[in-house]
C-alpha cells in the first residue's frame, strides 16, 4: 500500500495489559500487534470483553489501576517523521497531555458521559481548544468551535453552540463529540463503538460523516466495533480480537471475503443474510466467550471452535501465521507446518 520506507503512523508491538484484581492477574490484552498507516482506517472487531476498549485506552496511556501496560511498545511517528515511544511516557506527563487531543483524539459510544452537563457544548469545546493552544483568545476559540460544529455538518452552529448537552439528540451529541475530538487537528482518531448506541439511520449518517472528514482532513482512524458490516464499510484493514489476542488481521476485503481464522468465519456465518432461509437455523458459535480470568490453555478459541484439533489446539498457543499478502491468522490450520504437527 505505502512505500516500505515510510513508517506507519502508529505501531503497536506485543502489547500486554494486565489487571491486578482480587481474583488474580487478568490479561485483558495479550501480545497485541498492529500498525495504522497514515490516513488509513483500522477496524478492531470482536465481541464484548475481548479487550478492544482496553487496547484503545492503552494507546493513549489511559489504562487506570488496577490495570497497567505490562509490556510491549507503542510507537507514534507524527508529521515530523520522528518516532516517539509512547510507552515510555508517564500517563500524567505534559508530553502525554499534549499528545492526547493534538496528535491522537478519542470518541466514545455514549457521548453524554463525556460531557459536563453543567456547561454548554460551546464552553466545553472552547476549553478543549484553550487547553492545547493557550495563546488563543476566547473569542477566537469560540470561532474555532463554531467552525468545528459546521465541519461536522451540524445545522446552525452559531445557535447550537450555546446549547447544553442534554438538549441535543444522541446523533447530534455524537457529532459534537467528533467536533471536539477534531478541534486540535489530530492525525489519528480513535472511535470506540461510536455508533453502537444509535439508530441505523443515524449510524449511517455518522459513518458517512467520518468517511468524509477522513478524506478532507487526511487523518487515520482506529475504529472499534462489534459489527462486521460497519467495519466493512469504514475499514481499510481489520484486526479481529478474541480474549485479548489478535486472531486475524489483514486488509478488510481479504479478511471479510476469505476469512482464515475459524472465529472470523464463525462470526460471519452466524449473521443472518438476506438469502438465509428463514426456516433454517443460524450457524451459531457454541458456548460463550470465557472470561479472561479463565483463559483456556492452548488456542484461546479452541473451546468453541468447530475445527479444533484435539491434542494440538488445546495444548499449544498458535502464532500469527501468514495466509496471504499482509494477511495473518492465529490458527494451526494456516500453519505451513500443520502436517508435521499432526504427525
Amino acid at each position: 500500500m505505502t512505500e516500505p520506507n515510510v513508517s506507519p503512523l502508529l505501531s503497536v508491538d506485543d502489547l500486554v495489559v494486565e489487571f491486578h484484581t482480587e481474583g488474580g492477574v487478568v490479561r485483558a490484552v495479550n501480545g497485541v500487534s498492529f500498525a495504522i498507516e497514515k490516513g488509513a482506517t483500522l477496524a478492531l472487531i470482536g465481541e464484548s470483553g475481548c479487550g478492544k476498549s482496553v487496547t484503545s485506552l492503552a494507546l493513549l496511556n489511559l489504562v487506570r489501576p488496577p490495570g497497567k501496560i505490562a509490556s510491549g511498545t507503542i510507537t507514534y511517528t507524527g508529521d515530523d517523521a520522528e518516532a516517539r515511544l509512547i510507552t515510555d511516557w508517564k500517563s500524567s506527563s505534559e508530553q502525554m497531555r499534549q499528545f492526547r487531543g493534538a496528535e491522537v483524539a478519542m470518541i466514545f459510544q455514549e457521548p453524554m458521559t463525556s460531557f459536563d452537563p453543567l456547561f454548554t457544548i460551546g464552553e466545553q469545546i472552547v476549553e478543549m481548544v484553550l487547553a492545547h493552544r493557550p495563546k488563543t483568545s476566547r473569542s477566537a476559540a469560540r470561532d474555532i468551535a463554531i467552525d468545528m460544529l459546521g465541519l461536522v455538518r451540524l445545522p446552525q452552529p452559531e445557535v447550537l453552540i450555546d446549547r447544553y448537552p442534554h438538549q441535543l439528540s444522541g446523533g447530534m451529541r455524537q457529532r459534537v463529540m467528533i467536533a471536539m475530538a477534531l478541534c486540535c487537528g489530530p492525525n489519528l482518531l480513535i472511535a470506540d463503538e461510536p455508533t453502537t448506541a444509535l439508530d441505523v439511520t443515524t449510524e449511517s449518517q455518522i459513518l458517512d460523516l467520518l468517511r468524509q472528514l477522513q478524506s478532507e482532513l487526511g487523518m487515520a482512524m482506529l475504529f472499534i466495533t462489534h459489527d462486521l458490516a460497519v467495519a466493512s464499510e469504514v475499514a481499510d484493514d481489520i484486526a479481529v480480537m478474541y480474549l485479548g489476542y489478535v486472531v486475524e488481521r489483514g486488509a478488510a476485503a481479504d479478511v471479510l471475503s476469505s476469512p482464515s481464522h475459524p472465529y472470523t468465519r464463525a462470526l460471519l456465518d452466524s449473521l443472518p443474510k438476506i438469502d438465509t432461509d428463514p426456516a433454517s437455523r443460524l450457524n451459531a458459535i457454541k458456548g460463550m466467550v470465557p472470561t479472561p480470568d479463565e483463559m483456556p490453555r492452548g488456542c484461546p478459541f479452541h473451546t468453541r471452535c468447530r475445527e479444533a484439533m484435539p491434542g494440538l489446539c488445546d495444548q499449544r498457543l498458535p502464532e500469527l501465521y501468514a495466509c496471504g499478502q499482509g494477511h495473518q491468522a492465529r490458527c494451526f490450520l494456516v500453519d505451513p507446518q500443520l502436517e508435521v504437527l499432526r504427525g
Binding site: 481474583g23 437455523r281 457454541k286 458456548g287 460463550m288 470465557p290 472470561t291 480470568d293 479463565e294 473451546t303
Partner: protein
C-alpha cells in the same frame, strides 16, 4: 427437542468453568458482605458496636458495682488509678489500687478523697460482689474484675452521691443503645410500609402521605420532641416512659425514611423485573413485598443505620433536659444531665465521660452506615 438438547450440551462446559469463579455461587447478600469487609472503618465501627452492645447486655457482669449502689463515704471521688509500681518504686506483676480515704482539702476546706499509699488492694478477676442478673435469667454475683472490700475501684470516678460512674455508664448503655434501636425499628416498619405503598400506588394516598411527611419534616425536631415528651404523664413507670420516648423519637424519623423508600420504589416500579412480575399475574402485595421490599432492603438498612445516631442523640438530649428517661432508670443522657453545671464540670470533669461513649457510638454507627451504603450496590466495582 433434540435441537435444544444439543444446545444444552453446547452450554454445559461453559457453565462448568463458571463454577470456579467465587462470585458465581454467592448470593447478593454474600456479595454485599464481601464488599462491606473491604471498608476498614466500617469493620472498625462494627467491632466497636458489637463490643458496646455486648457490654450493655453483660453490664451486671462487667460493672464492678450495682447501678444504684452508693458509696456514701466516697462522693466526688476522682477515677481510681490502677498501678503496677508502688510508692517505693517496686514493680508488681498483679495490678493494684491504693485504698481511698477522706481528707480535708487545705485550700477549700472541703472533704476530698485521697489515696492512702499504705494499703494496697490487688485488682482481681472474677471476684464476688454485688449480686445482679443478666437479661432477667442469669443470676450471679461474680464480676469480671474488682478489688476485695473494703478497697474501692472507681474506674471513672464517682458522682456527687458516691455512685460508681463506670458501672452506671454500662447500665445506662442498656437504655441509650436500645431506645434508638427500638425507635428505628418502629420508624423502619412504618416508613418502609408507607413508602412502598405510596410509591407503588401513587394517587391520592401518596398525595396525603407526602403532605403529612412534609409537615413532620418541617417541624423543628427538638421543640417537637420536647412538646411530645412533656405529654408523657409523670405517673408512668420508667418502663412506660422508655417506650413512650422511643415512639416520640420514631415519630419524626419515619417520614424521611418513607420518602427515600418511595423514591426508590418509584424508579423500581417501572423497571423490567417488576413489570415482568406483574405480567406473570403477581398481585400487588406480592410485587411490593417479594420484589420491591427486598430490592430496597439494603438501602433501608443504610438509612436505618444512619438514623440510629440521631435517635441516640435525641434520647440523650431529652434526658439531658430532664424530659426523657427518669431515675431510677439510667441512661447516658441522665448521666450527662448530672454534669450540667459549670461548677460540676470544673471540679468533677470525669462526669463528662458518658459523652465519650455517646461520641464513639455515633461515629461507629456512621462508619457502619457508610460501609453499608457502598455494600448496598454489590455489583459496582
Amino acid at each position: 427437542m433434540s435441537d435444544t438438547r444439543a444446545l444444552a450440551a453446547d452450554l454445559e462446559p461453559e457453565i462448568e468453568t463458571m463454577s470456579a469463579r467465587p462470585t458465581a455461587i454467592l448470593s447478593v447478600r454474600q456479595l454485599m458482605w464481601r464488599k462491606f469487609r473491604r471498608n476498614r472503618l466500617a469493620v472498625f465501627g462494627l467491632v466497636v458496636l458489637t463490643v458496646m452492645y455486648m457490654l450493655a447486655v453483660l453490664a451486671g457482669f462487667v460493672a464492678p458495682y450495682g447501678v444504684r449502689e452508693t458509696h456514701q463515704q466516697f462522693p466526688r471521688t476522682s477515677p481510681t488509678v490502677i498501678r503496677f509500681i508502688d510508692a517505693d518504686g517496686q514493680f508488681h506483676l498483679q495490678p493494684f489500687v491504693y485504698a481511698i480515704t477522706r481528707a480535708m482539702d487545705p485550700e477549700t476546706f472541703s472533704m476530698v478523697s485521697v489515696e492512702d499509699t499504705s494499703v494496697r488492694y490487688p485488682v482481681e478477676l472474677f471476684i464476688r460482689g454485688t449480686p445482679y442478673n443478666i437479661l432477667g435469667i442469669l443470676k450471679s454475683d461474680v464480676h469480671l474484675f474488682g478489688v476485695e472490700a473494703p478497697g474501692k475501684l472507681f474506674l471513672l470516678g464517682t458522682d456527687t452521691t458516691g455512685r460508681d460512674l463506670f458501672s452506671r455508664i454500662l447500665y445506662g448503655s442498656q437504655v441509650s443503645l436500645t431506645v434508638g434501636l427500638f425507635g428505628v425499628i418502629l420508624a423502619l416498619v412504618i416508613g418502609a410500609s408507607v413508602g412502598i405503598i405510596s410509591g407503588y400506588y401513587g394517587g391520592w394516598f401518596d398525595e396525603i402521605v407526602q403532605r403529612i411527611i412534609e409537615m413532620t419534616l418541617a417541624f423543628p425536631q427538638i421543640p417537637l420532641w420536647l412538646a411530645l415528651a412533656t405529654l408523657v404523664p409523670p405517673t408512668w413507670s420508667s418502663v412506660q416512659v422508655y417506650f413512650a420516648i422511643s415512639i416520640v423519637l420514631s415519630i419524626l424519623s419515619w417520614g424521611a425514611l418513607a420518602r427515600q423508600v418511595r423514591a426508590m420504589v418509584l424508579s423500581l416500579r417501572t423497571s423490567d423485573f417488576v413489570r415482568a412480575a406483574s405480567y406473570a399475574n403477581a398481585t400487588p402485595p406480592r410485587i411490593m413485598f417479594r420484589h420491591l421490599l427486598p430490592s430496597t432492603m439494603s438501602h433501608i438498612l443504610v438509612i436505618a443505620t444512619l438514623t440510629i445516631p440521631s435517635m441516640i442523640l435525641g434520647e440523650t438530649a431529652l434526658s439531658f433536659l430532664g424530659l426523657g428517661i427518669k431515675a431510677p432508670m439510667t441512661s447516658w443522657g441522665v448521666l450527662l444531665n448530672e454534669a450540667q453545671s459549670v461548677q460540676v464540670i470544673l471540679q468533677l470533669p470525669w462526669l463528662l465521660s458518658p459523652a465519650a461513649f455517646v461520641v464513639l457510638t455515633i461515629i461507629s454507627f456512621n462508619f457502619v452506615g457508610d460501609g453499608l451504603r457502598d455494600a448496598a450496590d454489590p455489583f459496582s466495582r
